[in-house]
Amino acid sequence: MKRYSQYTIEVGDLWDVSFWKKADTMDLIYIVYGLFIVILVVVSYVLGALSLLPHNPQEINLELLMAPPNTAGHLLGTDFMGRDILSRLIIGIQAYFLPGLLAIAIALTAGTIFGVLAGYWGGGLDTTTTYISNLLNSFPRLVLILLMVAAFKPDIYTIMLVVGVTNIPAVASLIRSKILFLKQKNFIEAAMALGLKSWVIIFKHILWHNCRAILIIQATLGMAEAILMETSLSYLGFGVQEPTPSWGNMVQAGANYFMQGNFWPSTAPALAILFTILGFHLLGDGLNNILEGKRG
């Protein structure tokens, strides 16, 4: 179907060089920074999973409490119990990485299904999907998660289930409006006129060729959301429990020392949260600006 691709020039694709050439420099910087963070997170996750850490994250060293960065082999210093902060930060990624991927998978899969139902077939399905979206959007996410935590056990996978499900409407509405836009295009009309099966049009011509950018953007933004939720809930004491480190409970555990003026044990994980979420946001928005041409 190469010859129809000329009709899709408004919509960028990941491998479409012309889009990258005329991209804004700022957006490219966003993307480079975002990719750097993503790679850093993935590499750290793998290192953590393989236990390839500079120090044992649980090892208590009472002779070296709250050491500043770069003392005695501790690159990021130690916390209030003399535990190596860098190792704890790396291990802390375990708390959100796989659950976050689960949340993304739920949001993208269900969001795509609902979006296709609403956009491609429309009618009553469209109305129903809108109502379900509005219903899900009525709940403040954190309050809904607290309800789930009260009803079931405070488990990270329960929490991420909620995050995934509450992200469905956003994905569905993007896919829906994209399909409504694509349906006016000649190449979809041609595909329909040629008698291609619906699923071929949907999977190949709509989703694969024209929606993968949206899905990747939503995946990065969804990861940012998942990290935010995981850290907030660990901070509130419902996620990962001490002594297993998570960025949220590390900030919380350092709170008392923070008020005494020892900022670093709380600040290091807080900065990790800040730079990571910033990276995912910038990657998503940078890709969005370039590929979806949202900039005015």
Binding site: L135, N137, S138, V143, F152, S232, H281, G296
Partner: protein, 319 residues
């Protein structure tokens, strides 16, 4: 205005009200189903430590009768709620509705205040960007909005508490009582912290900038500019009022979520803190009441947004 002109608008407004009522019903159903599906036996919790008789749970269950089917349970719960009976908290024994409304007002202050702070930051940045296009200043401001949105709100809270303790000699963890001299200052810290880093600033800037620059490039704005009329006046409704109500309505859930954390940090006696406590105690009536009230709050925001939309542009909101 003639009555015939008001009628279609009134119909649209009535439709929005009906939709809101339907959605709130749906919300109550979702809340009910979550609690209904939760594992554990309320009798077990009730009897824990009160009796050692092995067959006590069965006997009590027999005396109280078998529980009705789920839809009957839902309906009776719903009817009670419509009559204002949300049950009593299993921990304190106080009626849920009074408790939730008492703390809900505190959360309302916090939410509205921080929304104002967010808008005070986001609107000028967005206006500047929409009017001037991409300039270095604009880029720095946008970047700042991104950093603010990614800041963990609890950490910013710590910084605020630290600064207020060590530099102003204030301790903002005590909730503002009007008797104190600087009570408004205590009040300001949580509002500022939540307003700065509720995670919505960059999205608000982005959305407003896109909407405004879209409206600024419309034909009727060009006409207005050509004849020397005020652009601001012409673009106000479509380029400012509608997008701003839309973004406020869609961000209320996020700010309420952030309020849970900020209330925890600052010991603010609001709905979020109560939800946190209720989740720890598995206090079902209370957490159900809070979730419902929060959802009603969100829906009211959306309803207001739809009303503004309909009143400003009745034709476009008909579909």
């Amino acid at each position: 205005m003639k009555l015939s002109a008001i009628r279609p608008i009134a119909l649209l407004l009535a439709r929005e009200l009906a939709i809101t009522a339907l959605l709130i019903l749906g919300v109550s159903f979702v809340v009910f189903i979550i609690i209904y599906l939760s594992p554990g036996d309320p009798f077990g919790t009730l009897l824990k430590g009160q009796t050692t008789l092995p067959n006590a749970p069965e006997n009590i269950r027999g005396a109280l009768g078998t529980p009705p089917a789920w839809y009957a349970q839902y309906l009776s719960w719903l009817v009670n709620m419509v009559q204002g009976d949300f049950g009593t908290s299993t921990r304190t024994g106080l009626p849920v509705l009074n408790e939730v409304i008492r703390v809900g007002i505190n959360t309302l202050y916090l939410t509205i205040g921080s929304m104002m702070v967010t808008l005070l930051i986001a609107v000028p940045v967005a206006l500047f960007a929409a009017r001037r296009g991409q300039t270095p200043v604009n880029w720095v401001l946008t970047m700042l909005a991104y950093v603010l949105s990614a800041l963990p709100v609890f950490w910013l809270g710590y910084i605020a508490i630290y600064i207020s303790m060590h530099h102003f000699g204030l301790f903002p963890l005590a909730f503002a009582s009007s008797a104190q001299k600087w009570s408004w200052l205590y009040f300001m810290f949580p509002v500022l912290v939540l307003g700065l880093s509720n995670g919505t600033t960059s999205e608000v800037v982005r959305f407003l900038r896109e909407e405004m620059s879209r409206v600024f490039s419309e034909d009727y704005i060009r006409t207005a500019r050509a004849k020397g009329a005020s652009i601001w006046k012409h673009s106000f409704k479509e380029g400012f009022l509608i997008p701003i109500t839309e973004i406020i309505a869609s961000k209320i859930p996020f700010i309420l979520g952030g309020a849970v954390v900020v209330e925890q940090v600052f010991n603010w006696p609001g709905m979020g803190r109560m939800a946190w406590q209720a989740a720890q105690d598995r206090d079902f009536p209370l957490i159900m009441g809070i979730t419902l009230l929060a959802a009603v709050f969100v829906r009211m925001g959306s309803l207001l947004q739809r009303f503004v939309h309909i009143l400003v542009n009745p034709r476009a909101s008909k579909e």
